[in-house]
């Protein structure tokens, strides 16, 4: 915590909003994927972004990578606005901000050898050639825990864990400062996940990397991240230090999410679960007021009328709920 408060902000999203115009049988409608999000990653930290499908977390990732233009708001990297950058300028910035995707089976070109896969970013950015390129690729393989003989293999000959190591080698090849990790271990076997998480942590220490760790798995976020934001239907509903968020969640959605997450403790030995009502609404039909109110066990009249603002509850801990001070859905279990 002390280290994160000391280090400067590296990647920042300011009031970023993404609205897609969708053609429906009833005419054009606005799909609000991300609804005015503010996020600041400090150098060297791992920042968690949690939420269920359709909450907008992957759209956030795309906007941070400048693969998707925000409808409004801007993204800055090291103080420089990157949202409007194009062409050569953007290519320069890309070196500094890289990505690891969920599925290492889909993310790697099956017709390229491991060597070519890892060499590709170095070739594209002309940062190494010939003998130096070979050395650099072998160094990268070593760094992610793969041996030299892997270089001539093809993705189909590798396990999921090995493929994800290659995706990581590609991501760190240009020595970026930030890596956006979108569900980086979700597609891997459980016994292999720990290896990759350990690798990510070691690389962070050795290369001073900053991670945005996007996940639906709360146990992973709790272990990996210093600070975390919880998203629901395009809004950040709560953020703060991970410890505070897990020990003292203030938003009913965070509380429900924590309660509903399966944990490896037999059912007879842990507290009863709080089940949310109903299902996640379509982002095309956002509820008025608080986005969670249709499923919230504590919802009142005011929740339909007024949008709760993300406000500070205790220093460094914010929640967007009218009843954040007292809300406790676990009492209903």
């Amino acid at each position: 915590m002390t280290s994160s408060t000391l280090s400067p902000v590296l990647l920042e999203a300011q009031d970023v909003r993404k609205v897609y115009r969708i053609r429906t049988p009833e005419g054009h409608r606005d799909l609000v994927a991300v609804n005015g999000l503010t996020l600041a990653l400090r150098r060297g930290e791992t920042y968690g972004l949690v939420g269920e499908s359709g909450c907008g977390k992957s759209t956030v990732a795309k906007m941070l990578l400048n693969l998707e233009q925000p409808t409004s708001g801007e993204v800055t990297l090291d103080g420089r606005v990157i949202t409007s950058l194009r062409g050569k300028e953007m290519r320069e910035v890309r070196k500094d901000i890289q990505v690891i995707f969920q599925d290492p089976f889909a993310a790697l070109n099956g017709r390229m050898s491991v060597f070519d896969l890892v060499a590709e970013p170095l070739r594209v950015h002309r940062s190494a050639q010939g003998k130096k390129l070979r050395e650099e690729v072998l160094d990268l393989l070593d760094l992610v825990g793969l041996t030299e003989e892997m270089a001539d293999r093809y993705p189909r000959q590798l396990s999921g864990g090995q493929r994800q190591r290659i995706a990581i080698a590609r991501a760190i090849a240009l020595r970026p400062s930030v890596i956006i990790c979108d569900e980086p271990v979700s597609a891997l076997d459980v016994s292999v996940q720990a290896q990759i998480l350990n690798l990510m942590n070691r690389l962070q220490r050795e290369l001073n990397l900053t991670y945005l760790f996007i996940s639906h798995d709360l146990t992973l976020v709790r272990y990996m991240c210093e600070r975390t934001s919880v998203m629901y239907l395009g809004d950040i509903v709560e953020d703060g230090t991970t410890a505070e968020l897990f020990d003292n969640p203030r938003h009913p959605y965070t509380q429900v999410l924590l309660s509903a997450s399966p944990v490896p403790i037999p059912q007879s030995q842990r507290p009863a679960r709080v089940k949310p009502r109903g299902e996640i609404p379509s982002p095309l039909a956002r509820p008025s007021g608080c986005p969670f109110r249709t499923r919230c066990p504590l919802a009142q009249q005011i929740c339909a009328e007024e949008v709760p603002q993300l406000r500070t509850i205790t220093p460094g801990h914010r929640a967007a709920c009218h009843f954040a001070e007292t809300a406790d859905v676990r009492k209903l279990a």
């Binding site: 999921g160 996940q193 639906h216 990996m224 490896p264 037999p266 030995q269």
Partner: protein, 343 residues
Amino acid sequence: MPEQAEGVVADGRSAGEAREEVLRVEGLSVAFGRASERVALHDVSLSLRAGEVVALVGESGCGKSLTALSVMGLLPPEAHVLAGSITVCGKEIIGTPERLLRRYRGSAMGMIFQDAMVALNPLQAVGRQIDEALRIHTNLGRGQRRDKVIALLDAVGVPDPTNRLRQLPHQFSGGLRQRIMIAMALIGEPRLIIADEPTTALDVTIQAQILEVLKDVTQARGTAVLFITHDMGVVAEVADRVVVMYGGHVIESADVVETFSTPAHPYTDALLHSVPRTDSVRGVDLPAIPGSVPAPGAAPAGCPFHPRCSDATQECLTMPPLEQVLPDHDVACWHPHTSGRSR
């Protein structure tokens, strides 16, 4: 609430001795390839009694889904049974002609798959799809069948069932589609449900709802559930007993509480410890298991886990038998962790 939960567990166990056996798999071995060179299931044995939920757990390629397919008589044509027997409600599955198997499926056993969008017919109203088992297996009239379908849809939590049974699968959310699958599996009142990763594709909050519905409706009917999953969190949520598979072998089988408190096989133990826990400290490495999971039919000889096992010795080059090490707790290991020894 906790007292009640304990009561249920205790009752379940004492009554369990007397309850009828719904499924027995005995010494099942299944292989792929022209000369059966790739053996994917080795001598698999397990059993389920009425009303029991048994989790069949393991990672990709461990043989859990192949075991489920064998029980349903749905092995792919390139797979063949080398040995063993499977009985569902006393009826042998292996070697039974497809014509008869079809009679068992839907009436003696129901199935729930991971992806409802693939399992459901996209062009047929869901009511008609649920009704299919009744049309085939019963002599009920149309009105009676319709009432049953509506009552069951209501029981699994599909709102407004009378109107919604006319709708097509795409008009339902993922969670509702999975509820429809549950209704479809249950409509023929089978004694056994085989659920293959039924909540893996769902969000956490929806998963919690579906697991609860599945538990409630099967418990109310005394249906046995073989629940296939890779997620130890889900296992803890639903299972009475846990059967752990690795490399095509059953390596451990125990009561759910014991599985989590005193895992005896080094693999089960290591697997449970490799996931972050609430007391895991950031920056301190997780106790990872080295190496990767063997591909189906390519498990190393001897104990399939030995190349990744920190306790492995020369002995582990021969496969240990599945033996009782503690009461109601079987393990296939030469060096089981029996004294609560765990890292």
